[in-house]
């Protein structure tokens, strides 16, 4: 056997997944166009920062793709451990921004370990499912360890507090477990539990601002719903064809907080209209469906699970972020993958897509 690294690079070259890569780059390009517009009032330095982060992300993408994913699988729990450690550390030493302790201040970038954790949990879940076979479908007995894997970081993330990310991980987890033959009865029981616990979480688990956001959704005339009303005004005023590049006056004039991290879709919708929105949605759909196709063709459960996990991550991010911007979900800090500004988000998504590429180029035995 020749040097495994050389083989890895050869595979990357010959079996390069162009569909995945081009779909990803298309969304990145689109995101940059949108960011330029969203940052009109903020000067160019955030834009160039995003460019360098994307370049770094591309490097991560290729690096993750080049390693044999079985090697990644072998150290899956170690990676998970490192991620958990980072979460503990951020709770202790993290930078407080807006009342939440989510970030490490690493000079030019702010690292958000909870973002990274999404991928690490997917890897850990994949490793566990790969190693525990369950022909009869999974019930509570088989779910105990995955629940443990997920709940530890989720609890810590919820403490930061960052309920948006915690909730995203929960959604990814459910999706992955469903794919992994979770019994319907068990699923029903979990859902039941979630419903039962909804009321106490609502009353004791949420912060005032979080409750307000949900209330704003339920009561659009309330003062707290101002933010999402402005987003709706902007999106609606984009009409069918949009107002054109750099013309998103409504959204900018009202200075929505977190415009370029949480509300870039509103800018896009105002400038490019319904048609533009369909293009973005189509782009994401192509990406997600392609990843699910790779999942179906993966040669082992680890690969399949990881792909399903990444697809779920993309899907839920898009659905929740867009849902929030179009006023059907409460305002939560969930990014729009590849389009939102933000280093941790970019690096996480790129690493995740790198994993998918990894599975993709190794799906056929030879």
């Amino acid at each position: 056997m020749m040097g495994s690294r050389a083989i890895a690079w050869r595979k990357l070259r010959f079996r390069f997944d162009w569909t995945l890569t081009l779909a990803m780059l298309a969304m990145v390009a689109l995101g940059l166009v949108n960011l330029w517009s969203a940052l009109q009032d903020r000067g160019p330095h955030l834009f160039s920062k995003q460019i360098s982060l994307l370049a770094l992300g591309l490097g991560v993408f290729l690096a993750v793709a080049a390693l044999d994913y079985r090697a990644i699988s072998r150290i899956g729990y170690v990676l998970y451990g490192i991620g958990t450690f980072l979460l503990v550390a951020v709770l202790l030493f993290g930078r407080v921004v807006g009342g939440a302790r989510r970030w490490f201040d690493l000079g030019p970038i702010h690292l958000q370990p909870s973002e990274l954790m999404k991928v690490l949990i997917i890897v850990a879940l994949g490793k566990y499912l790969n190693e525990s076979s369950a022909q009869e479908g999974r019930s509570f007995r088989h779910v105990a360890i995955p629940v443990g894997i997920v709940s530890l970081p989720v609890l810590m993330i919820a403490r930061q507090p960052d309920l948006g990310t915690a909730f995203m991980i929960f959604l990814i987890f459910i999706t992955v477990m469903l794919m992994a033959r979770l019994r319907l009865k068990t699923l029903g029981a979990i859902m039941g539990l979630a419903l039962v616990s909804a009321s106490p979480i609502w009353r004791y688990g949420l912060h005032e601002y979080q409750r307000k956001r949900v209330e704003a959704l339920l009561n659009p005339a309330s003062a707290d719903a101002w933010q999402s009303r402005q987003a709706l005004n902007a999106i609606g005023s984009g009409r069918f064809m949009g107002k054109g590049f750099l013309q998103a006056t409504q959204i900018r004039i009202r200075r929505l907080p977190a415009l370029w991290t949480d509300f870039p879709f509103a800018v896009w919708a105002e400038e490019w209209g319904f048609v533009g929105c369909l293009i973005v949605l189509a782009g994401y759909l192509v990406l997600i469906l392609w990843i699910l196709k790779i999942a179906g063709e993966a040669r082992d459960r680890f690969g399949a699970t990881v792909c399903v996990g990444v697809a779920a991550m993309l899907f839920w991010h898009v659905a929740v972020n867009v849902g929030m911007v179009i006023g059907v979900l409460p305002v939560v800090g969930v990014t729009l993958p590849l389009i939102s500004y933000g280093g941790s988000s970019v690096l996480t998504i790129m690493a995740a897509l790198g994993l998918v590429m990894n599975v993709s180029i190794r799906r056929f035995a030879y």
Partner: protein
């Protein structure tokens, strides 16, 4: 190599991931439906709602409270006026031209305005309120108002706003007490963020306007309107505006002063011959300030709003410092008016008896230094020393060991060396020297000579301690009323616009002087003598009717080597300050006063007539009922007329080092 495709679970995952794909497509379709609804079905409505909508916040200024005097005369009020503003982003060249001609703007003024308009246009769009109007001119003439009003809608970007303006009907009278108002600075705006100030607001600058800003101001209201580019209001304002849409203004509260404008005018008139000076009159039985003049003054009407640069330059260049409140913020040597403190200190500590004599040869020698008296007084007792203002008598007291500290102790007790507590205009504390202070100076600077007995001699005749006019008036009031040192007051009460009393300020005693009634009576008798004894320093200024005034003249030397602000010192500035402090009527004191004419010369010749005119005016026209009082008259001369049986005057002692 692993065997692949053998995992029975893989096909299941494939099957389920197809279901997931289906689910994802479904959700995306739902999202697309929602977007279709928002952008295509409701799109036009949203577009109309939001396109070019400009949120304008129209402020509704609160009416600032009035300031009135004790007889309910209005000293400061609001009156209607019209101001002109431009909206930089909407202003067109023609309307700018019309404004320029209507207001007759000077070329540089117009150029400056145009520059500000351009700067505002370049600035990034501000969040919710889109535009800040720029003020062109306030309080425009009726003529200009008519022209602009007629042009009305033909002047895009120009706004004529009817405003109300601060007006001071008494003009320059009591300007330092009332204060004035002008526009809040950017720095203050940042510092007072919580207090709801907006750019362009006027704030009280000095005097009551500043001290009671919080009471007078009221709260600005606002009304938000949303208009499109043509200025047509939109109806569904709730959709576009965050928070409250309107708020009614709350008018400010009215302040009632203790001042009496009749007396104020009398006092200002009495100072007509002084270039610079001050006078303050207080009620002996309450400590309330009835009049306070600081000359030269300024017209708060002129200072309020936008002061022209020439006017500003003129005021700042005036060598008599019109903006300085000489009643409160300037300190002076009290000169001989301080001798009452020295006398009371000596009497209280039993250094002298009233009958003890000293002999004045016209000077007092200590070591090789000679301290001059005003003239040769011969043999004088305490009474004569005060009446004739003999320095030698007080030099001898000053030479007693520990006298500087004793004077400091009694001076402090009588309210010197500390602000009176009026809290207006950054009131000065004055200064009291002690031996310790001199030792400290020496320690800090070895070249300093440290404490010398000469300092105590100077202190005894009022050339050491520095006082404010108000401190002296309060001190003389305390001597007059038998020892009550009042807290001076300017504000009697504050009323809400409804008439409800918000704050009421009853008279407050600051301290009872720690001197006995007998000693006070001795000093009072001597002060009557100053005005009524033929040898008295203020005898020539005495009122020509039966009003009996008591008081003390003072002629305070100025520090000749010190020009203010390092300017070369003029001969005018080398003249002594003329003082008179006293009370009236002597038999039943009602008012106390302190008068100072800067560089006026001799107190008896310059300041005393001013004080007499004030006292006379007060009992003639302001409060004739208070005039009635038993006559005090002059004491029977026992000791002086008889040949002096020569009880040796207390030998001057060398101070212990």
């Amino acid at each position: 190599m692993e065997i692949t495709g053998q995992d029975a679970e893989l096909p299941e995952i494939r099957r389920r991931s197809r279901l997931f794909a289906l689910f994802a497509v479904l959700i995306f379709v739902l999202i697309a439906c929602r977007l279709f609804y928002l952008q295509v079905i409701e799109g036009d409505a949203f577009y109309k709602l939001t396109s070019d909508s400009i949120i304008r916040t129209v402020t509704k200024p609160a009416v600032r409270g009035e300031i009135r005097d004790r007889k309910n005369r209005v000293l400061a009020r609001m009156r209607p006026s019209a101001n002109v503003y431009v909206l930089p982003r909407e202003l067109v060249a023609e309307s700018f031209e019309r404004v320029r001609t209507a207001l007759d703007l000077a070329p540089d003024e117009a150029a400056d305005l145009w520059e500000r308009v351009q700067a505002e246009r370049r600035a990034p769009v501000n969040e919710k309120e889109r535009e800040r109007p720029l003020s062109v001119r306030e309080d425009i003439s009726r003529n200009a108002q008519a022209i602009l009003e007629e042009a009305g809608a033909d002047l895009p970007g120009v706004r004529l706003e009817h405003a109300i303006r601060r007006d001071y009907p008494f003009g320059a009278a009591a300007a330092h007490v009332l204060g004035y108002m002008n526009e809040i600075s950017g720095e203050e705006l940042r510092a007072k963020k919580q207090e709801n100030y907006r750019a362009g607001d006027l704030v009280g600058r000095v005097g009551i306007e500043r001290q009671l800003e919080g009471y007078l101001r009221g709260r600005t209201g606002f009304q938000k309107v949303v208009v499109d580019r043509r200025g047509i209001p939109k109806t569904n304002i709730r959709e576009l505006v965050e928070g409250a849409i309107k708020q009614d203004p709350i008018p400010g509260n009215n302040v009632f002063l203790t001042m009496d404008m009749d007396l104020q005018r009398i006092s200002e008139r009495a100072l007509r011959n002084a270039n610079a000076g001050a006078a303050v009159v207080v009620d002996v039985s309450t400590g309330r300030i009835l009049a306070a003049v600081s000359k030269p003054g300024f017209d708060p009407n002129e200072m309020s709003g936008h002061l022209s640069s020439e006017a500003q330059a003129r005021i700042l260049a005036d060598r008599f410092h019109p903006l300085r409140d000489k009643v409160l913020t300037e300190t002076y040597f009290p000169g001989s008016t301080f001798k009452v403190v020295t006398a009371l200190a000596a009497l209280e500590d039993k250094l002298i008896s009233p009958d003890e004599h000293a002999k004045c040869h016209g000077y007092f020698e200590i070591g090789r230094r000679r301290f001059k008296c005003t003239k040769t007084h011969g043999v004088v007792a305490l009474y004569d020393a005060i009446v004739q203002s003999c320095n030698v008598y007080f030099y001898e007291l000053g030479a007693r060991p520990g006298m500087l500290d004793r004077l400091a102790r009694f001076g402090t007790d009588m309210g010197l060396g500390a602000p009176t507590g009026l809290g207006l205009n950054g009131e000065e504390a004055g200064f009291i020297a002690t031996e310790e202070w001199y030792r400290e100076q020496k320690r800090l600077n070895p070249k300093n000579e440290g404490f010398q007995v000469g300092h105590a001699l100077n202190a005894a005749i009022g050339q050491e301690t520095r006082v404010t006019l108000l401190q002296m008036a309060m001190l003389y009031a305390a001597i007059a009323n038998g020892g009550k040192l009042w807290l001076p007051q300017l504000v009697e009460r504050i009323e809400a616009p409804s008439g409800q009393i918000l704050e009421d300020f009853p008279p407050r005693v600051r301290r009872e002087l720690s001197v006995t009634a007998d000693n006070l009576a001795l000093v009072r008798q001597a002060l009557v003598g100053v005005v009524n004894e033929s040898k008295g320093t203020a005898y020539k200024a005495r009122p020509d009717d039966d009003l009996e005034v008591a008081g003390k003249t003072g002629t305070a030397q100025v520090l000749r080597h010190m020009g203010r602000r390092g300017e070369p010192i003029t001969s005018y500035e080398q003249n002594d300050h003329a003082w008179f402090a006293g009370f009236a009527p002597a038999g039943n004191p009602r008012i106390a006063f302190a008068v100072l004419v800067e560089h006026g010369g001799h107190g008896g010749e310059v300041a005393a007539p001013v004080a007499m005119e004030i006292a006379h005016g007060y009992f003639e026209s302001v409060a004739p009922a208070d005039r009635a009082a038993p006559r005090v008259g002059l004491p029977r001369r026992r000791s002086l007329r008889a040949p002096v049986p020569a009880p040796e005057p207390a030998a001057p002692l060398e101070p212990t080092p």
